[in-house]
């Protein structure tokens, strides 16, 4: 009668339903408090960092393992003669983070540096909620445009001005059980997942994996989730070569035929037999960890959780099944939230902080994220990271949300796109109807007056 998995469900991803966040917040809040207290004696600072008005205030949304790594990176850049005094504030990931960030910037008294998903830039930069970066100043501290992948760098700008410096690229990928994949004959000669190449190949792979595990093939948790189906749809849709754009005032520009083709394929893939179609996020995680599926479609940020499970874990770029390579991603980036009267010396420190932090990307990569700072990718230490290096090239074919003020991570847009997609996957509606509803929802959002410009 009782489920066979451990009583403590896996921690949600950035973008997963904010279940359990209270517990995570408590745990990490305690950790952060500990870190803050520890930072005092470590840096030889007499007063706690939080009370120091000269400390650089930074906001982020990293909890759990990511939060700990962020602490490590801050500690690393705080050492040495030119150390930083950093006052870190961790806020709960999700829509509320962006609400708070917008409010603090609108009030003009924001933190010196904050983390933002690159997909949200279009909602912040045009309305003046962000201050631009000074690229000359960054270059002075050893970081320039040439250090970043073009696919991601192109999204850091508004009207030709750079408003964000990317820390990572975090794609939606597949994890797989190496033994099951081997039995199913899906591995290449080097023991990595072989490319798919066609919709049929992925459907067959699902069947072969189901056979190999004796249970299910590919797992995907999407029920009651407000981002997962959109991530999957966006990846497959980009692979068809079609574009999805949201011009102000509407209507949205969507290739309806391509979208229907993609949703139909998603329905075939998650048919409810070889691959279950009714899992929620935690259910899919628990299923994969419990060996009840051979592959799972997830964000790479779940790597630490999956690694702990002890399954022979492989990871690969999101499988290309249509004409063009395309991987849905987002990017955690540093931004300068708008301040009414920024102190030039502090601004200079903020630039130096960002430059030093991106150079710490190797630490960040241990959580599974692909460093946006390219010099790190070339280091042998990064190549040695397994399975991170097997999807490291995902950043080159990165597909982000169509830019508009209401789109991006944790947005109403993603939620509204997920609702019809979920209905289609569950078999409650047809692919055509789901796509029509997506177009309608996007159109409704586009017709709203823009509240940030």
């Amino acid at each position: 009668m009782f489920p066979r998995f451990s009583a403590s469900p896996p921690a949600p991803a950035p973008g997963a339903a904010p279940d359990l966040t209270r517990r995570r917040l408590l745990r990490n809040g305690t950790a952060a408090a500990g870190a803050l207290l520890a930072a005092g004696p470590l840096s030889g600072c007499a007063s706690p960092a939080a009370a120091d008005a000269s400390a650089l205030s930074v906001w982020d949304l990293f909890q759990g393992g990511d939060g700990m790594l962020m602490d490590d990176m801050i500690k690393a850049v705080s050492k040495g003669p030119q150390r930083f005094e950093v006052e870190r504030t961790i806020l709960d990931w999700g829509p509320s983070y962006y609400t708070k960030l917008a409010m603090s910037a609108a009030g003009g008294r924001a933190s010196d540096v904050a983390i933002m998903h690159l997909s949200r830039l279009a909602g912040y930069a045009p309305g003046g909620l962000l201050d631009p970066f000074d690229l000359d100043l960054l270059a002075e501290f050893g970081v320039s445009q040439a250090d970043f992948a073009p696919a991601v760098w192109s999204r850091t700008q508004h009207d030709g001005t750079v408003y964000a410096i990317p820390l990572d690229v975090h794609p939606f990928i597949v994890f797989y059980d190496k033994e099951a994949a081997d039995t199913a004959g899906l591995l290449d000669s080097s023991g990595e997942l072989a490319p798919m190449g066609s919709p049929e190949a992925l459907l067959d792979a699902g069947k072969a994996l189901a056979k190999a595990t004796g249970q299910k093939g590919i797992l995907f948790g999407h029920v009651t989730d407000t981002a997962q189906t959109w991530r999957q749809f966006a990846a497959f849709y980009a692979q068809t070569g079609a574009t999805f754009t949201l011009p102000d005032g509407g209507p949205p520009k969507i290739d309806v035929d391509a979208a229907v083709r993609v949703v139909t394929f998603m329905q075939q893939l998650f048919d409810g037999r070889t691959n279950p179609n009714n899992l929620d996020y935690n259910g899919a995680m628990a299923g994969f960890i419990g060996g009840r599926g051979g592959m799972i479609m997830l964000g790479e940020w779940e790597l630490p959780t999956l690694k702990k499970s002890g399954i022979p874990l492989g990871a690969a770029r999101f499988p290309q099944v249509f004409e063009k390579p395309g991987v849905y991603t987002d990017s955690h980036s540093f931004v300068l939230p708008h301040q009414e009267n920024p102190d030039p010396a502090r601004r200079r420190q903020a630039h130096r902080y960002v430059a030093e932090m991106v150079k710490q990307s190797l630490t960040w990569a241990t959580a599974g994220h692909i460093p946006a700072y390219q010099p790190v990718l070339a280091e042998p230490e990064y190549a040695a990271l397994d399975p991170q290096s097997s999807y490291a090239d995902a950043g080159e074919v990165a597909v982000l949300d169509p830019p508009n003020w209401f789109a991006g991570a944790a947005s109403n847009f993603q939620n509204r796109m997920c609702q019809p997609l979920q209905a289609a996957l569950l078999g409650n509606t047809s692919a055509e109807k789901a796509v029509r509803q997506m177009v309608r929802e996007a159109d409704t959002l586009l017709r709203q007056p823009n509240p940030v410009a």
């Binding site: 066979r4 279940d19 209270r22 309305g127 029920v223 299923g287 609702q419």
Partner: protein, 316 residues
């Protein structure tokens, strides 16, 4: 005769027999003394009341006539634009509809089950304290705990609910993923979680019923059902009015458990109007429009309250 009477009404040993008959009224001689010193004590309350209730209500009303944004300082007066938009917004109507459906399917069982539980416990079942604890305990849990537990119960593949259906040979149900089922699942959770409060109100009322009526009825040979219909339920009318009123208002305000459990899904089928207000105002920054939707909802709540008040007053 004692063979037909429930133990609770037994004239010698029943728990109700030692209660004082009727409610005592304490005559307060208010209004005759000077109000000067009393006012000083009320001022702190009035200040808090004005600051955190009156002012937001007035300010919210003003915002509903502007294009106020969470992310901008400048606002412009837009007249009735927001209201016009709200009236034409299908999401407002669908979320209002969801709120009304939830109120209907949750309030009725929350009143009836609470009454049934209170009658059962009051009838003198053995282990009174255990029943009271069992019925009331879920109410003490915070919403996050309740929804997390029920999320796992409702899990499509691994959840206890579907595993149970499986063992008795029934097909699994998409508790949170089936558009026609999800709202019922949430109502079931809500009933389990909050029925204890209504149960307690009913129990208190039952315990204050005068035992003399029952003694007289027992002498006249009235059976248990007759006493329930002719004495207990009529005497509970005021309590029922109160419980129903509080329950309808509480159900109309539903937000937390739905937001945590389904985010208003699947496909918007459980999104209550308050979640729409939250989505539009806080995730979408459009405070002015969100205020207008709130005020439309506020108007609805007032109408519902007035109608209810009227109904119960007529009954009295």
């Amino acid at each position: 005769m004692t063979t037909t009477a429930p133990p609770g009404t037994d004239t010698v040993t029943g728990p109700a027999s030692d209660r004082p008959g009727g409610l005592r009224r304490i005559g307060l001689k208010a209004g005759r003394t000077a109000q000067g010193p009393g006012l000083v004590f009320v001022v702190p309350f009035l200040l808090v009341f004005a600051l955190f209730l009156v002012w937001p209500i007035v300010h919210g009303l003003w915002m509903s006539f502007t294009d106020s944004s969470l992310a901008l300082r400048d606002t412009a007066f837009v007249g009735f634009d927001n209201y016009a938009e709200a009236f034409g917004d299908p999401d407002v109507w669908s979320s209002l509809g969801n709120t009304v459906v939830f109120t209907a399917i949750s309030s009725v069982p929350l009143v009836l089950i609470a009454l049934a539980m209170a009658l059962l416990v009051h009838s003198g079942l053995a282990g009174q304290w255990a029943w009271r604890l069992a019925f009331f305990a879920p109410y003490l849990l915070p919403v996050t705990v309740v929804t997390l537990v029920w999320t796992w119960l409702y899990q499509p593949e691994l959840g206890l609910a579907n595993q149970f259906l499986d063992t008795i040979g029934m097909a699994p149900v998409g508790w949170l993923s089936d558009e026609s089922v999800a709202m019922w699942s949430i109502a079931a959770l809500t009933v389990w979680w909050t029925v204890g409060f209504n149960f307690l109100l009913y129990l208190a009322a039952l315990q204050s019923l005068p035992s003399t009526y029952y003694e007289a009825a027992a002498l006249d040979g009235a059976g248990a059902w007759r006493r329930l219909w002719s004495i207990t339920l009529p005497q509970l009318r005021r309590t029922t009015a109160l419980v129903a009123m509080l329950q309808v208002l509480a159900s109309l305000k539903v937000f937390d458990q739905i937001y945590i459990l389904t985010k208003g899904g699947p496909n918007g089928s459980t999104r209550p109007v308050l979640e729409y207000v939250y989505d539009v105002g806080f995730t979408g920054y459009r405070l002015g429009y969100a205020s207008a939707v709130s005020y439309l909802f506020f108007a609805l709540v007032i109408v519902v309250s007035l109608v209810q008040l009227r109904l119960f007053r007529q009954e009295d």
